[in-house]
């Protein structure tokens, strides 16, 4: 049987980002020789090793490794793209030929101006931890069993339904025919648990807790504490009431809601295409004055942070809402060029589909001054929403939503009483931004958001009859 060190050695010997950049440059050169007028390539190598927990035990250890090479080129203003997962000279040259054939077959995009030009990259510390590459299956299994052991020791009623620990890293490179050449590496280590517990009448909602770092030094204790505290509250059941009540949202909950309502409206593409309700409101008050939100692709705390976006443009900090006033949208190169603006470094590339889209990096919400526990204490009757169901079924263009809070916790006389089943929350995101009562100081660092719990006033709540 192979030893863990041999397993690690094999993972390590794959390609690195400099080799990927060399491949990108070869593809650019080959494409230009084949008469592409403009050409760009993004290549990545990903390696992920993770455990899978089922029914409270490690069920499987999974490893996914592979290269992805996405090519986009232009013949005049006609675009074609191709993808291959095969890291060979023959395969990438065949992919260039496919992209050329696609470009010849398609129609001109008269609005297309140019691929990105070189930009100055900031040095960002802390997005790579080499210990990730040395992680082997024994290490991540140990991380997982430690998590499972701690959580069931802290609360014997807990059923750890799903979970995982993992170590992943990405080497990436980008080059284009305008002279942009960039490569970098990013790493992530994580541990996550989704628990349930039996109640008198059925089952609690599943409660997810996680920690994600750049290395393997994850904070298991805080994950256990968070999970157990919430499950214990959910094991008690409560009845809700329909009406308008104060509601506190955990960032897990409002980040999902924002992703499917606010985020589409700040995308430069949607603004340009008339699909944003706030497309003409730059400089106007759209939220309460103590709301400040920015997109920051350079914050080392954010797991989405990188030196460059997926078209080689430097990441940056972009203020979206400042003291309630709408300040900026987010852009990639194509839509920024069409509007005479500069990309904000928010291009995201679906490698296999060849689709470049505008996407936030990490949304950061400026915290307030008081802990969330202080905010809860002041509520006579209201709700704490830990997570939501159905945010993805919101109307991304009107901003209307009607979702289920799950877990939804009833707050009575300043105390969390228990979980309410089937509690719906409805409204419009642009109204909700004006209903912010207070932003707590309890900042939580999640995958796509760094933000505190937020209290809202007069939220429409519909309780199951």
């Amino acid at each position: 049987m192979v030893s863990p060190s041999e397993e690690v050695a094999r993972r390590k010997k794959k390609v690195d980002e400099k080799q990927l950049l060399d491949l990108c440059k070869h593809i650019i050169s080959f494409g230009k020789n084949r008469e592409a007028d403009s050409i760009e390539v993004r290549a990545i190598y990903e390696s992920e090793l993770e455990t899978v927990v089922r029914m409270g035990q490690v069920n499987s250890v999974n490893m996914t490794t592979g290269t992805q090479i996405a090519i986009r080129l232009y013949l005049g203003k006609r675009m074609g793209s191709a993808f291959t997962n095969l890291y060979t000279k023959e395969a990438v040259e065949e992919a260039v030929e496919m992209a050329l054939a696609a470009a010849r077959a398609t129609t001109e995009d008269h609005e297309w101006i140019a691929l990105p030009y070189p930009s100055k990259y900031a040095a960002i510390d802390g997005i790579w931890d080499g210990s990730i590459v040395s992680a082997d299956s024994a290490k991540i299994v140990e991380m997982t069993t430690s998590l499972l052991g701690e959580v069931t020791k802290a609360e014997p009623s807990i059923i750890p339904a799903f979970g995982s620990s993992g170590a992943g890293y990405t080497y990436s490179a980008y080059a284009n025919s305008n002279g942009v050449e960039h490569c970098e590496r990013n790493s992530a280590g994580y541990t996550v648990i989704q628990s349930v517990a039996k109640t008198e009448t059925g089952m609690t909602p599943s409660v997810g807790s996680y920690d994600i770092q750049r290395g393997l030094e994850v904070d298991t204790q805080s994950v256990v504490r968070d999970n157990v505290e919430m499950i214990r509250i959910c094991m008690k059941t409560a009845n809700g009431k329909t009406g308008k009540y104060p509601v506190i949202f955990h960032p897990n909950a409002y980040s999902q809601l924002m992703q499917f309502t606010l985020v589409p409206s700040i995308s430069g593409e949607n603004v340009t295409r008339g699909k944003s309700k706030i497309g003409d409101m730059i400089g106007q008050q759209i939220a309460n004055e103590f709301v400040t939100i920015y997109d920051d692709g350079t914050d080392p705390r954010g797991i989405n942070t990188s030196i460059a976006d997926d078209e080689g443009v430097a990441r940056q900090k972009t203020t979206i809402i400042e003291n309630g006033v709408l300040r900026s949208f987010i852009w990639d190169t194509y839509w920024a060029n069409r509007n005479g603006l500069k990309s904000t470094g928010n291009a995201s590339r679906n490698m296999r589909q060849g689709l470049v889209q505008i996407s936030p990096s990490t949304a950061v919400i400026e915290p307030g001054t008081r802990d969330v526990s202080e905010l809860i204490k002041e509520i006579d009757y209201g709700y704490y929403i830990r997570n939501v169901q159905g945010a993805h079924s919101s109307n991304p263009e009107s901003g209307d939503f009607s979702i289920v809070g799950n877990p939804a916790i009833l707050i009575e006389n300043g105390e969390m009483v228990g979980a309410v089943q089937g509690l719906m929350i409805s409204g419009n995101i642009f109204d909700l931004l004006k209903q912010v009562k207070e932003i707590s100081s309890t900042t939580r660092i999640l995958v796509s958001i760094i933000g505190p719990d937020i209290a809202f006033d007069d939220v429409n709540v519909i309780s199951k009859e």
Binding site: V61, M63, F83, T84, M98, T107, T144, S398
Partner: protein, 462 residues
């Protein structure tokens, strides 16, 4: 490919694995996206890769790789990883025994999408875009996506299973935006076939048909009134009862989810009102969830999840069938070689009942008729939510005004008891994509079904 997979099986046996599963894929896949007539993505790709899954000392190891030259190393790594997990298990994972099958399955289509010129696909998308734009001047933006694929899949196992199958996909997904004054709204539509080639787009999912479907939904949203929040008697059409079957109970009848859910331990118990029958069937001709075998080599089957209101059977894979003492239902599916197979639904539906459509509407003074949905989601405590994009008021038994941005929710363990009528007419299907960590194309459907007040909660701003 088969030689390489055979090498993997032998390497796994030499490394001491009690079970080795080697899946290979070789495919041509295409994605095109058009925004208001502008091509935004036009990507063709050749994808080749292998997934190795081994059972060693009672735990799984899984390796996915695009490097076919690394096959033996991938197997050895998978065995090493499984051993690390096995050392921590209280009891070993075992698999239910199955009869191994050897088969070469081909798809006979008129027009393999791989050989349809790109120009023809772009023309299809342009026509669709124009049809939507011309439907109503309030429609201000149209995005059309299409996906096609021609993929050959291979499955070899150490049990002797040896399957090769060719698969086809044609898929179209328009998304349209409507604007009137300050009111902005959107709707989507989706059709796909895995049994017909590009001829499906020429004969059934034509630009005119698909365009009209999405355009009429946008205009209904623009003209709709806000729903009243609360609980009302309601009737769900086939598209909505299908997604409800999928979300409300379908997921919780997947054995891997059931064991941690509100339906755990309820097999053999009454879980729904009288007359309710719900089935998941992987054998129905022509539907998106249909295939002859699953991705563990088990023949697909018809699973009567609820029969005469009793929960009678769960969807299983080989592992959960052994663990729970059920039969393997052929429900193990993997999106691609990048993922291990997990338990998934195929074609899930409520069986027709004994009422006419007219009888269903009788006696409803005020309620809602939900005809089409935007998306849905289920939770372990049986809570479900579905966003609705086409709905109407029912007033005195008749359809009334259209509604905008409605959403429904409920607790499946309660809601299924509130079914008060099931139509015997028009069992219809819709195409969907389920995202349980991996994408799976599914079918869902049913006839019209009526719920009493208290069964479904409606979210709304009024």
């Amino acid at each position: 490919m088969i030689d390489k997979l055979q090498t993997a099986i032998e390497a796994g046996q030499n490394a001491g694995a009690s079970y080795i599963e080697a899946r290979g894929e070789d495919g041509f896949i295409e994605f095109i996206k058009m925004d208001d007539g502008r091509i935004n993505a036009l990507t063709q790709r050749i994808e080749r890769g292998v997934a190795i899954r081994v059972l060693v000392d009672g735990a799984w190891g899984f390796v996915s790789t695009g490097n076919l030259a690394d096959m033996e190393q991938a197997v050895v790594d998978a065995c090493s990883m499984a051993k690390a997990a096995a050392a921590t298990r209280r009891e070993p994972i075992e698999l239910v025994e199955i009869k191994p099958h050897e088969s070469k399955l081909t798809t006979n289509v008129e027009l393999d999408p791989r050989h349809v010129p790109i120009e023809e696909k772009i023309e299809y998308m342009s026509k669709l875009t124009k049809h939507v734009q011309n439907y109503d001047k309030r429609i201000t933006a149209v995005t059309v996506s299409i996906r096609t694929s021609s993929v050959t899949k291979y499955l070899l196992t150490s049990d002797g299973t040896n399957l090769q199958s060719s698969g086809i996909l044609v898929w179209v997904y328009p998304w349209a935006t409507g604007k009137e004054g300050t009111r902005l709204t959107t709707a989507r539509y989706e059709e796909a076939s895995s049994k017909q080639g590009w001829e499906y787009m020429n004969k059934f999912a034509t630009p005119e048909y698909i365009g009209e479907k999405v355009a009429e939904r946008v205009t209904l949203q623009l003209e709709g009134v806000s729903p009243k929040a609360g609980s009302y008697p309601c009737i769900f059409g086939p598209r909505v009862i299908g997604i409800l079957a999928h979300e409300a109970l379908g997921h919780l009848s997947e054995a891997d989810l059931n064991v941690n859910s509100a339906f755990n331990g309820k097999v053999g118990e009454v879980v729904a009102a009288e007359g309710v029958n719900m089935t998941d069937d992987g054998t129905l001709e022509g539907l998106m969830g249909t295939s002859k075998f699953d991705d563990e080599g088990v023949p697909t089957s018809r699973v009567e999840i609820i029969k005469d209101s009793v929960l009678v059977e769960l969807l299983t894979n080989r592992e959960y069938a052994q663990k729970l003492g059920y039969r393997p239902t052929g429900s193990a599916r993997a999106e691609s070689y990048l993922y291990p197979p997990i338990i998934r639904m195929r074609n899930t539906y409520i069986e027709p009942g004994d009422m006419s459509d007219e009888e269903l509407f009788e006696g409803i003074d005020f309620g809602y008729y939900c005809a089409d949905f935007r998306a849905g989601q289920a939770q372990m405590n049986a809570s479900f939510q579905v966003g609705i994009q086409e709905a109407y008021e029912i007033v005195n038994g008749e359809l009334g005004r259209s509604l905008t941005d409605m959403s429904i929710s409920g607790i499946a363990t309660d809601s299924l008891f509130k079914i008060t009528g099931i139509s015997k007419e028009n069992l219809e299907w819709e195409v969907g994509r389920c995202g349980k960590g991996q994408e799976a194309f599914i079918g869902s459907g049913g006839p019209k079904v009526r719920f009493a007040k208290g069964g479904i909660t409606f979210g709304g701003s009024s």
